[in-house]
Amino acid sequence: MKNSISQIKKALIEKKISVGELYDEYLAKAKSGNNNSFNLVIDRENNISSINDSQNRYDNGNPLPLDGIPLGIKDLFCTKGIRTTASSKILSNYIPNYESFVTQQLLNDGSIFIGKNNCDEFAMGSSNETSYFGPVINPWKNKNSQKDNLVPGGSSGGSAAAVAEGSCVASMGTDTGGSIRQPASLCGIVGLKPTFGSCSRWGIVAFASSLDQAGPLTNCVEDAAYVLNSINKYDFNDSTSSNHQREDYLVDINNSFEKKIKIGIPSDYLEDVSDDILNQIDNTKKALSKHGIEFVDVKFKTTEYALSTYYILAPAEASSNLARYDGIRYGVREDGESLDDIYLNSRTKGFGDEVTRRILIGAYVLSAGYYDAYYRQAQKVRRLIKNDFQRILNEVDFILTPTTPNEAFKIGDKLDPISMYKNDIYTVPTSLAGLPGISIPSGLSKNGLPLGVQFIGNYFEEKSLLQLAALAEKELSFNE
């Protein structure tokens, strides 16, 4: 079992380890680079003042909440003075002159960045195979086929793999349709997507603005609460940031619920799923029933429309969000005879196939004559999906689903985009509704690979969601 943030902090306070030693330990693993989980690692000398400042605060007995904790940062967060690529060729030379709101909060709380985690290009993918810097390898192996390299999931695959391999204590990811929860599940760690509007999107390379949400990938639920305490803040500069009062997510995390809890299991999610997946739900149900939690069947009316709705709306927004990457002001520019050629060449060579595909889909569904049939219709369906969740969350406190329909698969196995898109079938509806969801490890598959379950809570109720996940975690923990 890896050390949690509170254990590490205790060791630092008790001087069993120094901030520098801690950093070196994680940096060594990150640098070994066996799983390609980092696009860039930050050498000790480039972090030396942060390390020294942090050590001083420990020495003075006033450490910050995340003081000295080595974090990985998905390469989608702009980091001041540190190359930020979105794992795309077109941004492969881009060094921002500003720090994203979320990473700034983490720095303010004393954490130290080990490096930038590999991810799918512009966060578009479910296997981390679309990265310009090559695929990330899942640290886990199929016990029946040890030689195969498996995907870590995506798009925050580098973040998930880095936490799982122990090259950072926690990593910041982003989730648009499952990009935190799905890789967390496939790598056997915890992944939290907060309610849309919780964590500012300012300074995160945008994929689909109405869905993108930052969140932590961690070894345990308590660590997720540590990180969430830091990043969940109102930001004036993000117009979709909610300015409600935030809670301390650590306070009650290990307490049992005072009231009777009812969890809904959507039966329509469990049609045609493998025994491996059904087992996860059964395990979780058994474990939590012991604590007096009640389970009921619920049925969504909109599940079958979620994926197609998502694959209209997300590409539509992406096609516009990625228009700024034209090679004119920053990023990689390809030569051309005319202005149009410069655009064409820079974008054709700068974007990979999956990104190009989604830009084309997005441009198509927004174009004259198709807008009503696709984009407008999808917006209406999205509203119905939200209403559907609201209806069910009026009956139950939480919803329990599998996180993924399958275990980690072999790199290169899923070449057909549609079968790849289906990986997000359990996470996409939550994203469309804007609700918070957390994936925690729930057991191993027949092949000895980790699988997870997802708990979904109501808007901005991350506190009780984390409490529930922590309770389940105690019962479900498994050894590697």
């Binding site: 702009c78 603005s209 109405s210 004036f236 927004e317 516009s320 927004l366 174009s367």
Partner: protein, 478 residues
Amino acid sequence: MSNNWEMVIGLEVHAQLKTSSKLFSSSPNQFGSEPNENVNFIDSGMPGMLPVMNFGCIEMAIKTGYALNFKINKYSVFERKNYFYPDLPQGYQISQFEFPILSEGYINIDSGDNQKKIRIERAHLEQDAGKSIHDIDPKYSFIDLNRVGTPLLEIVSYPDLSSADEVINYMSSLRQLLMYIDVCDGNMQEGSLRADVNLSVRKKGQELGTRCEIKNLNSFKFIKQAIEYEFQRQINIIDGGGEIEQNTMLFDTSTGETRAMRSKEFSHDYRYFPDPDLLPVNLSQEQIDKIKPLVGELPQDKLNKYLDNYSLDKDIAKIIIAEKQNANLFEKMISESTVKPKFIAAWLVGDIFAFIKENNLEVNSLNDKTKDITDLLKLISDDVISNKAGKEILPKVLNGEGKPSELVKELGLEQVSDSGELEKIIDEALVGEEENILKFQGGSDRVLGYFVGKCLKATKGKGNPKLINKILLEKLKK
């Protein structure tokens, strides 16, 4: 030949709003800075940057709504208009499309001797683009992003205009109103106000023809030239048996001609959709109502007031209301003085405006001299000094060379209004004029003018002409 043809014109006017910062970023909104000086990470379209709406723009739009008789919509939506151009860093312009902030307004304009109501379909907020500069270097184009994100209000009229003169009247009325409510500086040369003209032609009474859009006209002169040229161009095509293609046209200011920029087949598909980075604008009635008192008196209100309360001539009143600063100056003088408004108005549009024009001044620059001006006007209207002396002193007062009463003394321009003194002068002047006196008594009024002139000359112009007149009449009638 064009006698039985008529033109049908609709106008899209872009007004730059006078906010201190841009529509969605905190960069300064100002003209004339060094290239790319007013550009931040949002304006330059850096990755991960997000727009934040400047509520000042909404307030200005609401003000405009009141001034142009619009329905002010509580719900409006910013959408993205997607196209590629180097001076558009985001790859899209944030604009309002399906749900504009203002709809269904109108203004009344002069058309010949009558008023004509011009209906306005909508007005919406949007970002301006930057500038591409192609004439600095033979090989490279240069980009200035200062204007990126500047707030524009696009005001789209119905095709209710039917001559170049009407278009000019409409445009200048709009300009006047926008300047009155202080949302636009109206500076057309700097591009603060510019128009796209949609024009089609038809035989009188017939169906609407195919229209062409002439883009980006930034002076009244060009608007008039472009309309006249385009009108004739379209008629010539139809008379020659051709058909009008729906084109976007450019007006070449050097030749005075319009030419096609792109045809409809090559028109952009802008793929509008609601900007997911921004929430829809939801205004409460209270927020809208709060703006109303800020609108202030509009030109038409002032005109009515000047005619009804101050009995000004219509032509003079119109000159004063043409610009808000004129009206402000005028009203300040009225409020500070007991001189009749009509008297003040005559001097304002006469000698005072002439002075301003001659010296290239801003009307505003006289705001701190109003007390001196009205003191001078009081001396004139009370006959302390003559009209002529007033004209002599005015420039000195406006230049701040002294107080009117001091200047009158200094220059010895005080009128002689002592009737005893004047009687003496008149008696002397009448000596030896028996013949003329008889002429007058015989009914020749012209002789009176001669006597007044003679007396004035004797007083070196300082005699009060009215008094001289009065005394003369008394004496002559004896």
